[in-house]
């Protein structure tokens, strides 16, 4: 490892350590507010909470069993879906549209709606050139709050199922959503948005501004940008449009809610969304913050924090491997780069690394770290182009997403995915010590296994099936920007991103086609709702079970041995389901020498 990679890795390590340090106290706060314990903030915002609950007609103490909880979550998602879809196709007739953007095409609107309702934020189109302020603020931004809130509600339902034997009651879905938004997502994003505004990110409802370029550029006959004095230039460009709008608030929740959908197409590579090193650091840290806090909340809820420690160790181990690989790959001077003339391999410890597709202000190291975090946490925002990364640099986010939402994952859904794998590991490990499986004192029978299995395999199945449908269509060959193997990687990445509800993408793929929009839209809905429903059924089953005293006979699920087993199972299932596909994509590229 080069010294550069070493210091970048160290920097990323410090960042992750900071997040873990913040997630610990946050987890206590999360448990307090979600369980409705008296806190100062609840006294201050209590009237809001109560009126929001009255609005939907629920009482705080009205506990739901899994059927009602699931029905509520599905109904809520359906209403969100219909609302957002209608809004997007009718955008032209709605207010706050200074740029007069028309309504979206049906397939695009379907994809966008599925994407934002499922906390994916895959965007077939760039926001600043297609969406009105109304669509952004009332449509997408609202979903950016609601979809992680649904995730938190489901995660807490599962935790309550694990922790209590309260006759199958999992809490109240609507109360959970209100509390998650009011006490968790809103305050945290308010802080982050204010820092963004302080650092220079726009927060306004004014129209886009036209600014003079300091250094004019030109375009050639094909419309590509060239230097002003280039002989092929046909027209000089002296002004540029600067998209404004409520950007800082959108960025804050996109990072905190593992949404990832930026205001601009360039996402956090854009200086408007991510103006300074401080914002870059905070946005990086915001991605895993709530997912990590939820893992710690698990330990608090079941009354044994060592349980969280074991899970967290697994998460950090995978994340560290991902961070390390992508940083090492991107900071290295590869022969391919040398062939392009981008680096000179003769120089000792040359430091440029792979600058293609990176924002100069941000650099290789921070771009690589961001890429690992955004894929591990099912966030999907970007501060660099993954398209332009090295084969290993592309493989890492593919793998981190393809493992399922376990390495932090989405807000709520990440914990669900991790616990799904934990149930599986408990099952195998229990049998190996000659006991019927039980997790935290609750017996795991066929009914519980069925649900855990759905949680575990749904993402892999979704990815493989969606990628299969995509490659079968002749239209796909036209949509990819590069020939195979990279063209295949582009399609695989799209399917993986949707199946992991991640939302990041390879920009070479022209994804706004009816086929890709519909396939990915359906995939996102499946990958979100199947595990969500399974988690609630599982929670309902567990909540009805009596806790057994395992004592010395039982399997310890808080020790290092269990953590290792869990790690191996997660990696093995991920590798077994996706390795052949990876071999045809990034691995082929890596070993072919093609770049």
């Amino acid at each position: 490892m080069s010294a550069i990679a070493g210091s970048e890795f160290l920097q990323a390590g410090v960042l992750v350590a900071l997040v873990v340090a913040c997630a610990l106290p946050l987890s206590g706060y999360l448990v307090d507010v979600m369980e409705g314990r008296p806190l100062l903030i609840r006294r201050a915002l209590g009237p809001l909470e109560r009126s929001a609950c009255r609005l939907v007609g629920v009482r705080e103490d009205d506990g739901m069993d899994w059927r009602r909880f699931l029905a509520s979550a599905l109904a809520f998602t359906a209403v969100s879906f219909i609302g957002l879809f209608t809004l997007l196709i009718c955008q032209g007739a709605l207010p706050w549209n200074p740029e007069r953007f028309p309504g979206l095409a049906l397939d695009t609107a379907f994809n966008m709606t599925a994407s934002f309702v499922t906390n994916t934020n895959w965007q077939p189109i760039a926001g600043e050139t297609n969406l009105s302020y109304f669509s952004q603020a009332v449509g997408l931004a609202v979903q950016n709050f609601l979809s992680p809130a649904v995730g938190i509600a489901v995660a807490f339902a599962l935790l309550r199922g694990l922790a209590s034997s309260d006759g199958g009651k999992l809490g109240n879905f609507f109360v959970d959503v209100v509390r998650a938004v009011l006490y968790v997502l809103l305050p945290l994003s308010l802080v982050l948005a204010l820092v963004g505004v302080w650092q220079g990110s726009p927060q306004t409802f004014q129209g886009y501004e036209m600014v003079q370029l300091l250094e004019p550029v030109s375009v050639d006959a094909e419309g590509a940008l060239v230097d002003a004095d280039d002989p092929t230039a046909v027209q000089e460009v002296t002004e540029a449009v600067v998209p404004l709008g409520p950007q800082s608030s959108q960025v804050a929740i996109k990072q905190l809610g593992t949404n990832g959908g930026g205001f601009n197409g360039a996402n956090s590579a854009s200086a408007l969304e991510n103006p300074t090193p401080l914002t870059n650091l905070l946005q990086c840290a915001a991605m895993p913050l709530i997912p990590f806090a939820l893992i710690f909340a698990f330990g608090r809820m079941v009354g044994d924090r060592r349980q969280s420690r074991a899970l967290m160790t697994v998460v950090l181990a995978i994340l560290a491997a991902g961070l390390f690989s992508v940083i090492a790959a991107e900071t290295a001077a590869t022969p391919q780069l040398s062939a392009d003339g981008a680096v000179y391999l003769g120089a000792l410890d040359q430091s440029a690394g792979n600058m293609e597709g990176k924002e100069c202000r941000i650099g290789v190291g921070e771009s690589a770290a961001w890429t690992a975090l955004t894929s591990a946490t099912s966030n999907g925002s970007a501060n660099a182009s993954i398209e332009a990364m090295t084969p290993i640099g592309t493989l890492v986010p593919l793998a981190l997403i393809g493992l399922g939402e376990v390495v932090g994952g989405g807000v709520g859904t990440g914990l669900v995915g991790l616990l799904g794998f934990a149930v599986l590991a408990v099952f195998v490990a229990s049998l190996m010590i000659g006991r019927s499986p039980e997790y935290l004192g609750k017996k795991l029978g066929p009914a519980e296994m069925r649900m855990a299995v759905v949680i575990v395999v749904a993402p892999a199945l979704a990815i493989l099936l969606a990628a299969s449908v995509l490659v079968m269509s002749p239209a796909s060959a036209a949509a990819v920007g590069t020939p195979a193997p990279f063209g295949f990687t582009e399609l695989l990445y799209a399917a993986t991103s949707a199946g992991g509800n991640n939302g990041s993408g390879l920009s070479g793929l022209s994804s706004n086609t009816p086929l890709i929009n519909v396939v990915l839209g359906v995939e996102m809905l499946f990958a979100r709702l199947a595990p969500l429903a399974a988690a609630l059924v599982l929670a309902g089953n567990l909540a009805q079970l009596k806790v057994q005293a395992t004592g010395a006979v039982g399997l310890s699920t808080s020790g290092a041995l269990f953590a290792v087993l869990l790690l191996v199972i997660i990696v093995l299932i991920g590798a077994l389901s996706l390795l052949p596909a990876f071999a045809l994509g990034p691995l082929a590229e890596q070993f072919m020498g093609a770049f």
């Binding site: 599986l424 099952f427 195998v428 229990s430 049998l431 190996m432 010590i433 000659g434 006991r435 019927s436 004192g441 795991l444 029978g445 066929p446 296994m449 069925r450 299995v453 759905v454 575990v456 395999v457 199945l461 493989l464 099936l465 990628a467 299969s468 490659v471 079968m472 796909s476 060959a477 020939p483 195979a484 193997p485 295949f488 009596k546 806790v547 057994q548 005293a549 395992t550 004592g551 010395a552 006979v553 039982g554 399997l555 041995l561 087993l565 093995l572 299932i573 590798a575 077994l576 389901s577 390795l579 052949p580 596909a581 071999a583 045809l584 691995l587 082929a588 070993f591 072919m592 020498g593």
Partner: protein, 692 residues
């Protein structure tokens, strides 16, 4: 070749029907894959193919072999049970039964020789026609016609047809030895019994069904494991199908034909699917039941066997399990200035007529210590006073003296009734004996207390180690005894038990089980008497002694044919072993896939991207040889693991943590390494014989 193996091979082919394959989803997919390759082979022979016909034929043969190996494993496991069932069936003959009507039964009660009278009055019927509630007579040399509850008489019975134990057992009316089983033989005397189970539902019938695993249902753990295997199979189906499409897309981009053939992808799918555990799953379950049967325990369901593995509290009866059935006199402790010899002399006299093992041991101890010879009871002037439930004492009246021995409170009442004093010293000595785990027997002559005999429980040799093993496994042992708490505590400490329930009544036992269960424990117990039935019904694993009453047998979920009190420990071990075998082979099966990937992926994809040859870390000769090596390994590993599946993985008494570490190392890590070596070897072999 052994008969069992032959039968298993025949059965393996018989199980090729779709219906038997449909029982096992994973193997069904292999079966369908084999069918598909057969069709592909036929097409290839007709000239339509995407691979050389020889390759397709080889894959096809290996796939069918995989299916057959799975069938064979199951048949072999069933074979053991079938052999046992055959032996049992031979005991189940239709015999002539002597049916007694109620009038004759009432008359017989007053007869001098009821058996002769009843034999006269009885009516001969076929045993198969006996109905529940009817009464029959069975005499020496006859076979018991049906399961029954003895209502008159006592006899020695040969139960070897069921238990394999040749020593005869006593069956008699009343008490806990009143149940008799159809198919056993009366050796001496006679019995009158009321039918408790008709033909077809008898104990023997149930036993046959059980060992034949005809009534085998999948246990919850098996169902859960099967769900996991189905899910993995689905994923690998998706992997194989999608790989075909990905290959086609890639090839089209290169402007070439898809090098991935359907045959290879079918082979890939079978390689990856968890066939090892899928093929052995039912064999493991059946073999677990067989092992239990071999230990002479019959379980009413596979669920009960698995529950045995989960038990963490064992209720063990003191007598027979922890201590030898009888206590022995260990010391004479005189009080009030009486010499030890005087006490020994009186104690021996009081015990001369006492034929219990405790009584004999008093006589022997007196002889050993003081050379006091046994005296003939026939001597004049001896009047034996036997033990009664009212006096709770026994003794002799001798030359005008009354010598009594009994429990301290009984003797106190006796002495005080005669105006004597039960001194504080005697009470203290008795207390001391209790505290040390012994049983004090106070000896009194006339109204004077002479001293105390210390009766000691003899703890079975080796039982302490047994309990230490159980503790290492995390299982709590609880002794159940009628003794007072002091004695119980001392014995429990000496034998190394975790806890005890003293002065236990059936109600106390039931309450204790409920209490443990409420704390979240799973409780196992053994029992034989009718009054154990409620506790047996409440326990999670309840082993009834075969010598016990019908009520106890019905309340329990297992019957121990040997009626051995220590059997519970063995049952727990077998239950654990069953689950461990399943878990370990699952781990092994899934871990195998890693090596198979390194064989198969380069083999399949190198034609598209030659650079992927770097993944061929085993340096397998050709894509075809790599593919074949992987799939042949996949088939052969089933055969190689059959002995392990039938025998079960080694069950050690270790903490869960150490067990997991060990099994993960052996079956997880081993499962990663073994196939690399084996696939490489198979590939080298193919190169050597020249097929690759």
């Amino acid at each position: 070749m052994k008969k069992e193996t032959k039968r298993a091979i025949r059965d393996a082919f018989a199980k090729l029907s779709f219906r038997s394959q449909a029982q096992n989803p994973v193997m069904l997919m292999v079966y369908l894959s084999a069918c598909l390759t057969t069709v592909l082979l036929a097409l290839a022979l007709a000239g339509i193919s995407d691979a050389p016909w020889g390759y397709i034929a080889a894959i096809c043969v290996v796939l069918w072999a995989t299916v057959l190996f799975g069938n064979f494993a199951e048949s072999l496991a069933e074979g053991r049970g079938k052999a046992q069932a055959d032996a049992l069936r031979s005991a189940k003959r239709d015999v002539e039964a002597c049916l007694i009507d109620n009038a004759a039964l009432a008359d017989a009660a007053t007869m001098e020789d009821p058996s002769a009278f009843l034999a006269d009055r009885g009516r001969a019927v076929g045993s198969a026609t006996l109905k529940r509630g009817q009464v029959y007579l069975v005499r020496a040399g006859e076979q018991v016609p049906a399961d029954g509850e003895v209502i008159m008489g006592a006899a020695s019975v040969d139960e070897s047809a069921i238990t394999g134990e040749s020593a005869p057992v006593v069956r008699e009316s009343g008490g806990d030895r009143s149940s008799i089983t159809g198919g056993t033989t009366v050796l001496s005397d006679w019995l009158v019994a009321r039918v408790t189970a008709e033909a077809g539902q008898s104990f023997l019938d149930k036993m046959i069904a059980m060992v034949e695993s005809a009534a085998r249902k999948k246990t919850p753990n098996e169902q859960a494991l099967e769900l996991l295997l189905i899910a993995l199979t689905l994923v690998f189906l998706a992997v194989s199908l999608s790989l075909y499409l990905f290959g086609a897309f890639t090839a089209a981009q290169h402007g070439a034909g898809n090098p991935l053939g359907i045959t290879s992808l079918v082979a890939l799918f079978v390689c990856l699917a968890p066939t090892t555990i899928g093929a052995l799953l039912s064999a493991i379950g059946i073999a677990g039941m067989s092992r239990l049967n071999a230990a002479n325990v019959l379980a009413t369901s596979g669920r009960a066997v698995e529950a045995a593995g989960d038990v963490d509290v064992l209720l063990l009866d003191k007598t027979g399990t922890i201590t030898l059935g009888n206590r022995q006199a260990a010391a004479f402790l005189p009080v009030g200035g009486v010499s030890e010899r005087e006490l020994a002399d009186a104690a021996q006299l009081a015990s001369l007529a006492d034929e219990t093992p405790e009584g004999r041991s008093v006589v022997v101890l007196a002889k050993e210590r003081f050379g006091i010879r046994e005296r003939e009871l026939a001597q004049s002037g001896f009047a034996v006073v036997p033990f009664t439930a009212q006096t709770r004492m026994s003794g002799v009246d001798f030359e005008g003296h009354e010598i009594r021995k009994g429990a301290a409170d009984a003797v106190r009442a006796y002495v005080e009734a005669r105006g004597g004093v039960f001194g504080a010293e005697a009470a203290a000595v008795a207390e001391e004996v209790s505290r040390s785990g012994g049983t004090p027997l106070v000896v009194a002559r006339d109204a004077r207390v002479l001293g105390v005999i210390h009766l000691k429980d003899i703890i079975k040799s080796g039982i302490r180690d047994n309990f230490a093993d159980l503790r290492a496994m995390g299982i709590k042992t609880v002794m159940v005894t009628g003794d007072n708490p002091l004695t119980a505590a001392a014995i429990a400490a000496e034998a190394g038990l975790d806890d005890f329930i003293a002065e236990a009544t059936p109600e106390a036992k039931l309450a204790a089980i409920r209490r443990y269960q409420a704390e979240g424990h799973l409780v196992a117990m053994t029992g034989d008497g009718t009054n154990d039935a409620p506790a047996l019904a409440q326990a999670d694993v309840a082993v009834a002694m075969n010598s016990g009453t019908q009520a106890a047998k019905e309340a329990g979920n297992m019957v121990d044919l040997d009626s051995s009190p220590t059997k519970l420990i063995e049952i727990v071990r077998i239950g654990k072993q069953l689950l461990m075998t399943r878990g370990s082979l699952t781990t092994f099966s899934i871990a195998n896939d890693l090596a198979k990937y390194f064989a198969v992926i380069p083999a399949l994809l190198v034609p598209l991207y030659p650079g992927l040859e770097v993944l061929n870390i085993m340096h397998l000769a050709t894509p075809a040889s790599a593919m074949l090596a992987a799939i042949i390994y996949n088939a052969l590993i089933i055969v190689a693991l059959i002995p392990l599946a039938l025998r079960g993985v080694k069950c050690r008494e270790a903490s869960p943590h150490r067990l997991l570490a060990r099994n993960l190392a052996v079956y997880g890590l081993g499962g990663v390494i073994v196939p690399f070596a084996a696939i490489k070897a198979l590939d080298a072999l193919m190169v050597f014989v020249g097929v690759a």
